[in-house]
């Protein structure tokens, strides 16, 4: 029988299906960070349980980490959380990439960096953006702290099988329209709960044309459409990415060849059925800018802020509340929105290709007066690579701040925060109220759009601006 990519990985990892329809699913990689793990370790201690497979568990610290003076964590509560992770990893024998490691970084950036993220595996982490790893054809999803404890204790998770949702992006997006624009477009179409209960599979010509970095950006924001996981079938671009540089955990030599045979068996079979399908013409997608406090409140850069009652999927009350918070009025052209902060980084857009794309833009101009631009590499490895290519010099010459790796301003659990009323063009994933700092206003965009906004002080259509 024809099977989807999701069904193949699911079956390969089914330990047992219980009478009530719950499947015990085996987990190949468990990634942990400092915020959602301390209570799980405490639970293990209280019940006298051990970590079943410490060798399949990998930790790093990212959410609380300062991006300037990283060894001097001034907030004692942040420091306690960081220290708790170090102690827990030591006690339970788990590999930790801490602040001293040249592999430290955002958990969803270091998985692929290290070669931990491989096609056909199951990956979980106490973080909703675990969907990122789906770009490799790995079934990866975010879990809560009780589930973190569950995986630590059993290396398994009881799961009900999700439904499948195929999104086909036809045509080729016209550069500089990027993966970020495609995924924001999808979220705008189906809403932030549009894929709840489904695993998304992205396919079509546009997805095939994306680099691994672009595919990771797309899968990363699956959760913003409500889906716990997003998947892209592996292909030559995937295999080349895994083998391109030394990745300590990626298979090598004969093992790589053996793995390749498995990986090539993964793509969805001809005729396999999905529970839902949607087609989006990628060649017609314009650069996207969010204008509200939900990622589904998004429009083309060439558009205006919508009327209160003019947004599909949102009530007039919700739109008004969002626009009041954002300090925006219906009818305002998006290109007239002035920004004072630019954040380029995060697990959505903190990879080397994102930095290259923004550096290309910063070669053409300097950061506007009154604008602060933070460039935060997703990991130490990305930082090293960017510096080897001289990208840091381009950013600094343009007036940007070049920082150390971490989650930074994506969620403001560290010193990088917006002040009340400040407005950011941000390459991150959520524009919720207060997400980047209490009272802060977030507009989600691609790295190129963010860089151009930094230079002009307001949003511009990157297509026209570059030509």
């Amino acid at each position: 029988m024809s099977k989807t990519l999701f069904e193949k990985i699911w079956e390969k990892h089914t330990v047992k299906t219980l009478a009530d329809g719950v499947t015990i699913l085996y987990i190949d990689r468990h990634l942990i960070h400092e915020v959602t793990s301390p209570q799980a370790f405490e639970g293990l201690r209280l019940s006298g349980r051990k970590v079943r497979q410490p060798r399949l568990t990998y930790a790093t610290m990212d959410h609380n980490v300062p991006t300037t003076d990283r060894f001097n964590i001034k907030d004692p509560v942040s420091k306690a959380q960081i220290d708790a992770l170090s102690e827990n990893c030591k006690e339970f024998g788990i590999t930790l990439y801490d602040l001293n490691s040249d592999q430290q970084g955002i958990v969803h950036i270091i998985g692929p960096d290290l070669g931990l993220t491989l096609p056909g595996t199951t990956i979980v982490c106490g973080d909703s953006h675990t969907s990122t790893h789906g770009a490799f054809g790995a079934l990866s999803f975010g879990i809560g702290t009780s589930e973190v404890e569950h995986v630590l204790a059993t290396q398994c998770l009881p799961q009900k099988k999700a439904k499948t949702f195929k999104v086909e992006f036809t045509g080729i997006p016209k550069a500089p329209v990027s993966a970020k624009d495609l995924i924001l477009k999808l979220i705008g179409e189906i809403g932030t709960a549009g894929a709840t209960g489904y695993v998304l599979e992205y396919c079509g010509e546009a997805v095939r044309s994306l680099s691994m970095e672009g595919r990771m950006t797309m899968c990363n924001m699956s959760i913003e459409a409500g889906a716990r996981a997003g998947l892209i079938a592996p292909d030559d671009i995937t295999y080349e990415y895994i083998a391109r540089i030394e990745r300590p955990f990626a298979p090598k030599g004969a093992d790589f060849e053996k793995a390749l045979t498995y990986w090539k068996s993964l793509p969805t079979d001809e005729g396999a059925k999905y529970d839902r399908t949607l087609v989006i013409d990628a060649s017609k997608v314009a650069p996207q800018v969010t204008w509200g406090t939900s990622p589904g409140m998004v429009t083309d850069v060439t558009s205006c802020i919508p009327a209160y009652d003019g947004v599909t999927g949102y009530s007039a009350k919700d739109v008004k509340q969002a626009l009041d918070y954002m300090g925006l009025k219906p009818g305002t052209p998006v290109e007239d929105i002035k920004i004072d902060t630019v954040f380029i980084g995060s697990c959505t857009n903190g990879r080397i290709e994102d930095l290259r794309a923004s550096a290309e833009v910063f070669k053409r101009g300097k950061v506007a007066k009154g604008v602060t631009a933070l460039i935060v590499p997703g990991s130490q490895q990305v930082k090293k690579q960017a510096e080897a290519e001289g990208l840091d010099k381009i950013f600094i010459a343009a007036g940007c701040e070049w920082r150390e790796s971490g989650c930074s301003m994506c969620l403001a659990m560290n010193p990088d925060q917006l002040k009340p009323g400040e407005r950011a063009a941000s390459t991150s994933n959520r524009n919720f109220e207060g997400r980047q700092g209490k009272g802060g206003r977030t507009h989600l965009v691609s790295p190129q759009m963010a860089a151009a906004a930094a230079i002009e002080g307001h949003f511009v259509d990157i297509r026209k601006w570059l030509s």
Partner: protein, 213 residues
């Protein structure tokens, strides 16, 4: 986990859709390494003014919703991050259950009432999440808004029934719930314990499975 059978308590109405986890429990409260102490921070930025006093415009600060233990909101409650702190905050603020409506999408598909990870985390902690139709939730909002005092409601998990004790007439709604989730809630089962009952299957599976591939 405590067993959940029936619960009777006051309702509180939060007339917002897409209530995200950042609103439920803001990031500055995620730094704790404990499982407790989140209740007072529930909806922090909505609940308090700059000077720390209660925001009179925030729905849940209305006197009639004081000491409520059943939260009624709109579609896509708990969207956003996987932080279980959101569920702990709702529970520790005194809520035993949350009710929200599923919604019909433009293409006719059903949009669930709760975000997936939030619903899942709720089940692990014994917080009951109940999906009703939009019409039914509208009825609860109408009755709750019309009443001058806070209304009481009974959540009967065993019989999958909700009773709204309005002054004029009692409203009763039936709800659906995944039998596996219901069973675990009613028995107050430890999920890890259930999985470990199958440890020999896990060990056998591990013998033939190569996570590196």
């Amino acid at each position: 986990m405590e067993k959940f059978k029936t619960h009777r308590g006051k309702i509180a109405l939060l007339d917002n859709a897409n209530v995200d986890t950042d609103q439920i429990i803001a990031k500055q409260f995620l730094k704790s390494i404990k499982r407790t102490g989140f209740g007072e921070h529930l909806f922090h930025d909505w609940q308090y003014l700059e000077d720390g006093s209660p925001n009179p415009d925030f729905a849940l600060n209305q006197p009639k919703f004081k000491n409520a233990s059943i939260l009624v909101a709109r579609n896509n409650f708990g969207c956003g991050s996987s932080r279980e702190h959101a569920v702990w905050a709702v529970q520790q603020a005194g809520y035993a259950g949350v009710i929200a409506p599923w919604k019909k999408a433009e293409d006719g598909s059903r949009i669930p009432a709760f975000a997936d990870i939030f619903r899942n985390n709720s089940g692990k902690n014994g917080l009951l999440t109940i999906e009703l139709s939009e019409e039914e939730v509208n009825q609860i909002f109408e009755a709750g808004n019309a009443a001058s005092e806070g209304l009481e409601m009974t959540l009967d998990l065993e019989n999958q029934k909700i009773i709204l004790h309005a002054a004029e007439d009692t409203l009763t709604f039936a709800f659906e719930i995944d039998p596996a989730v219901k069973d675990r809630l009613i028995k107050g089962l430890d999920d890890i314990g259930i999985t470990l009952e199958h440890e020999s299957s896990i060990t056998a599976f591990e013998k033939n499975h190569h996570p590196q591939l």
